[in-house]
Symmetry: C2
Subunit: 386 residues, 2 copies
């Protein structure tokens, strides 16, 4: 298998893009990635689209063909990858495989999601397709309700109160405030945390990431070719994916994110890296409890200790910066596009182009995209090509 | 890239499986494929699921994780592939890539669809997500209505009446009558064709394939390993995918299926084959007009001449047998699973295990799975390993 690198990245602000259609969001992100790579669109040989909800919310399947035509590469191989809100990470992994295998020399990986045109219970119902329909959703368990079960169990096991999680959101919003692409650019205070409106007790508004519209794109090429074509290729040093039960109640240890653990372990092995080598970690903080559990599953904290990192340790100058552009919580969570945003952000950090959000001297970064409550986990480790 | 072969196939009857959930359909098809291969499920390293409508009709996304758990391989890499009703063919292609690249030694490719629990306009609306939502569906153009436009144009251009298409359905039903897995096992007569109930003029009930519930599964392995493990491995000699505009009105020549043509051309090149080498062709006869156009696009007939093959030429003993187990028209069309059914059927033909549906002395077979009105086309060429 060939070594693969990111040669171009593009992203749009995560927002309520009521005035822009799904296909136009995709076009703009792809154009930005092409411009970044200095590559003509004709060089794209394959398109993998990460998307979760267009069938439900835009009445549109078949995004591979639709978007490859609209972005100006009509006719090429294209398909959609879906793994709940890990669709973007999964699409990146398939693009990696297509280039690593030698099948193509340039792959476009695209994440796009249009959520906010639909409001109220229809949106909530659509968002719930990530959980087990027959055993969870039918009982009324929304994603927030499932996160609440995990959070309550965690608080019980380790004798914590709500304030244990505040630091995750304070950090996310502090970083989001510096990022022009973030959905929420307001800072929040830990003191306000316990009185924030409840979404599904104990999950409150500060624990839950906002869904948003967005699109992000990545161009991949063999590292050898990338060295000649762009100034700062970012190689994919590790790529791995694993799954778990959808239904949280089927897991022997609900507080252990097995898929996150397995995929991170494989990515470390492939990259020849250890957790201490990781300079920053874009994790899947769709809920603060998942941030704590992901830190534990990926070897950054002992079980039951992840919450303790929710302070200086995770800031831009801390031991392990997370959510460096705001994370899902403040940058926003455009479900099927989130995994691509994470990878774009890590690439910008490693290229030293993160502006006010820059993590000093970042050489190796990691991104982990989860589906639902961790039913899917995709982990990538990135490294600047020297 | 390594040579890849089919080592196991499984399929369920296409039917109205009201009593069986989506996950149980998947389980049964996978178990049949494992039994066929004589392989323990622990050998499966990756699962690609082809599915089109579970998000709409079963309130269920995230099928990769859900089904890999339910079929007994919890934890492994798994995701869903979607390319409208070409999802099955696209999933097969990704499984081919995963094995060909050397990433895994055994891939499970699974197609599953549950359609018939939902009836009336809700089902019809869901089925329409394959077309362009902003420019076709919003005008009320269902798949049948779009096929009707193509058929009317074809009849006008070549001065034909309805009877030109009857032979496709007569053949499909004659073959379906012999197939225990077919949804419709009744023979139909050409004389009845002109008076069949109209779906969307000129498309009538005999022109349109019925949607159905179903599941089919394929196990893939490197050909070198397959020779030692199963009696009759069927190698994938060619695999290709291409796309076209979703909206039929955006195509310079609406009667030319460009994606079908491109993907077939690439598959021929890879296999070192010509149309005259193909012993049978499982094409995508969701509508009779698409059967005629696919024959033309793939080099079996000149443009405007495809309809002329709708007679003895396409029967089990004809020049180019098509729909040998009934095709989409009589075996039934379980959207995201259809591409897997097609490949299973070709494999059975090449193994000489097609029973009453056997095409004599079949050595090389082809399957082509279309999305919508040909917005996506996936073509595979198969050959018995000698």
């Amino acid at each position: 298998m060939r070594d693969v690198s990111i040669i171009g990245v593009g992203q749009l602000p995560v927002a309520e893009h009521w005035e822009t259609s799904l296909r136009r969001l995709a076009f703009q992100a792809v154009q930005a990635a092409l411009d970044d790579a200095g590559l003509p669109r004709e060089r794209i040989e394959i398109v993998y689209v990460g998307n979760m909800l267009a069938e439900r919310l835009s009445h549109q399947a078949h995004l591979g063909a639709l978007l490859s035509d609209f972005i100006g590469v009509r006719g090429i191989e294209a398909l959609r990858i879906e793994a709940a809100d890990a669709s973007g990470g999964a699409a990146l992994r398939m693009g990696y495989l297509a280039v690593a295998s030698g099948m193509v020399d340039v792959a476009l990986v695209l994440g796009v999601e249009k959520v906010t045109d639909v409001v109220g219970s229809a949106r909530l119902a659509a968002m719930s397709v990530t959980a087990d329909a027959d055993y969870e959703t039918i009982q009324g368990a929304t994603p927030a309700a499932l996160a609440a079960l995990l959070m309550a169990r965690y608080m019980h096991e380790y004798e914590l109160d709500l304030s244990a999680f505040a630091g995750f959101s304070v950090n996310a919003h502090a970083n989001g405030a510096l990022n022009p692409n973030a959905m929420y650019r307001n800072r929040i205070k830990a003191e306000k945390f316990p009185t924030a409106p409840v979404v599904s007790a104990p999950v409150n508004l500060f624990d839950a990431a906002p869904e948003g519209d967005g699109a992000a794109a990545i161009l991949l090429a063999p590292t050898e070719a990338a060295r000649d074509s762009v100034a700062k290729p970012v190689r994919i040093a590790g790529s791995a994916m694993a799954t778990d039960t959808l239904a949280v109640h089927d897991r022997p240890e609900p507080l252990f994110l097995a898929a996150a653990n397995i995929s991170a372990g494989r990515a470390y092995d492939q990259a020849g890296a250890r957790p201490t080598d990781i300079a920053l970690f874009e994790l899947h903080d769709s809920f603060t409890i998942l941030a704590a559990l992901a830190l534990e599953a990926c070897g950054f904290a002992e079980q039951g200790q992840g919450w303790k990192m929710a302070g200086n340790a995770i800031s831009l100058t801390g031991r392990l910066p997370i959510a460096t552009f705001g994370g899902l919580k403040a940058r926003g969570h455009p479900f099927g596009a989130t995994g691509i945003y994470q990878a774009v952000e890590v690439a910008l950090q490693l290229r030293g182009e993160a502006g006010d959000n820059q993590v000093p001297n970042a050489r190796i970064g990691m991104a982990q995209n989860l589906g639902g409550m961790g039913g899917t986990a995709v982990t990538h480790i990135f490294e600047l090509v020297e």
